[in-house]
C-alpha cells in the first residue's frame, strides 16, 4: 500500500531560508540575525535592512510569544484544509522581536485576547517537512 500523499501547499525553500526549515525539522526555532549588527529578521532574506550587511547568523529562538492578532478560518479555500476547518491562525509577537504566523491547537476563539501568552510547538507533516503551531503557555 502506498503511504497517503501529503496534499497541502508546501514551502518553496530557498538557500536563504533553508536553515529555518532545517531547524523546524529538528524541532528547533532558528531565527536569522545580522552577523554585523545582530538585528533579528524574519522571514529570512538576503540583506539586513538596518545596516545592509549580507552576512547572517542563526540564533535559537525561545518559542515564547504573545498573540498579536488572529483569524478563524471557516472557509478552507484549499481542499486539503477542509478536514480541519474551522481552525484558528495566530499572528504572534515572538520574544525576539519578530512575528510568526501559525495555527493554534488547544483553544477556541472565545478564549483569545491580544497579549495572550503562547508557546511554539512542532508538527511533523512529512519526513522532510515540519510546520510550526502554537499552544497556550500555561
Amino acid at each position: 500500500m502506498n503511504a497517503p500523499t501529503y496534499d497541502k501547499p508546501q514551502p518553496d525553500i530557498s538557500a536563504v531560508s533553508r536553515p529555518f526549515w532545517d531547524g523546524l525539522r529538528e524541532h528547533r526555532l532558528l531565527l536569522q540575525a545580522c552577523a554585523r549588527c545582530h538585528t533579528v529578521r524574519h522571514y529570512p532574506r538576503p540583506v539586513c535592512d538596518r545596516c545592509y550587511s549580507m552576512d547572517c547568523e542563526w540564533i535559537a529562538g525561545s518559542g515564547r510569544g504573545t498573540v498579536h492578532s488572529w483569524t478563524v478560518n471557516h472557509h478552507p479555500f484549499h481542499f486539503a484544509f477542509k478536514r480541519e476547518s474551522p481552525f484558528i491562525t495566530l499572528t504572534v509577537d515572538l520574544e525576539e522581536g519578530v512575528r510568526m504566523q501559525a495555527p493554534l491547537r488547544d483553544a477556541d476563539a472565545s478564549q483569545l485576547k491580544i497579549g495572550m501568552a503562547v508557546k511554539l510547538m512542532y508538527e511533523d507533516m512529512t519526513p522532510e517537512l515540519t510546520l510550526p503551531a502554537f499552544r497556550r503557555a500555561l
Binding site: 498579536h68 471557516h74 479555500f77 484549499h78 491562525t89 499572528t91 495555527p103
Partner: protein, 382 residues
Amino acid sequence: MSIRDQACVTGIGETRYTRETTRSQAELTFEAALAAIADAGLEPKDIDGVVPYVMGGVIAEDFITNFGLPDLRYSALTPMGGASSVAALQNAALAVAGGLANHVLITLGRGALSTGRITDRIGQMPQFRVVGEFEMPMGTVAPAQFYAPMARRHMELYGTTSAQLGEIAVTFRKHARLHDNAMMQKPMTLADHQASRMIADPLRLYDCCLESAGAAAVVISRADRARDLRQPPIYIGGVAEGHPDSPSTITQRPDICRIGLAKAAPKAFAMAGVTHKDIDVAEIYDCFTYIVLCQLEDMGFCAKGEGGAFVQGGRIALGGELPVNTHGGLLSQAHIAGMNHIVELTRQLRGQAGARQVADAEVGLVTGYGDLGDGSIAIMHR
C-alpha cells in the same frame, strides 16, 4: 515641477459585467478599449501610449496588432495588483505631462471563474512569493485569510464591529441597484449581512468582493489636447502611490492596521491643493469591507480607530456627507480591479451618473489597494 492638472481622463469604456464568460480577457479588453477611445471622440490610431493590466491577458504589442497603431511610443506596466489601475493613472499622467505621449490607453480585463479561482491565480503572482513559503503551508492561502487579522486587531483595539463592516456592504448594494451594469441587484439588509456565513473571521461572505468577468478602459490625454475632445475633460489634480512597511507580508508589518495609502494620500491632497472637505464623492477600492474602513482612516477622513463610527448613519451613502462607491464597488457592481472605480468617478464628475449622480460633484477621489497593502490614489476634478 508638478503634474497637477496636466493630464485628463477623456474617455471611458466598459463591457457588461458578468460572473462567467466564454470570451477571452483580450476580447473583453479590446471591446472596453474601443468604447473608451470612441467616448473620447478619438480614433484608435490616435493612441500613442498603452498601460495594460499585468494580469489582463494582453500586452502593449497586442494593441498595435489589433488596432493598427502606427506609432505606439509609450508603454508601461504598473504591477501593483488592485492598486495597478490608479497607479497607471499616475504613470500615464507623467507620460503625457512629460511629452512622451498625447493619449495613453489604460486597460483592465478579467475572466473571473473562466480563468481560474483567485486562490489559483495568486499562487503565480510575485507579490505572494514570501507568504507562499511561510504562510500558505499552514493554511493561509487566500486574500480573505491574509486580511482577516488586520480587521480582527482593529476590532480588538478600537471596538469596531461586524455590523459597522456590514453598513459598508449594505450601502454599496443600495448604490449597485441604481446601476444597470451592476452584477448584484438583490437587496441586502444588515440582517442579511450578519446572517451571511463566516469566511475568515471577522470577514463574512458579504464582506468579500465578487469575482467577475469583464473589462474597463480609460484614455488619459494631455490637458491641451483634452479640451477639444468630445467629453468634458476630467483633470487629474493629484496622484500618488504608497507602499506599506513589510509590503510582502502583513504578519511582519509594524502596524498591521495601516496600509500604503497612508503614505500616498497626503502627497495626492497636497499636489491637488484640496482638503478632505472638498471631496464630493469617493470611489474606494473595496476588496473587503474592512479595507474601505481602513482606507478612510489612512486618508485622514477620520482618525485611526474611528472608521467604524464614520461609516455609520448614512455618511457614506448617496445623499450623505461623503458618498462612497456610488456604482456598488467590487462588493456589488463587479470586480474589475478598480478600473470600474475610475470609470465611475469620471461619470460622476462629468455629471453622467444618472440616478446615482451626486449633486454638483466637482471634486472626487479614487483609490486602489493591491496585495498585500500597496495603495494608490488620484484626486480628480471637472
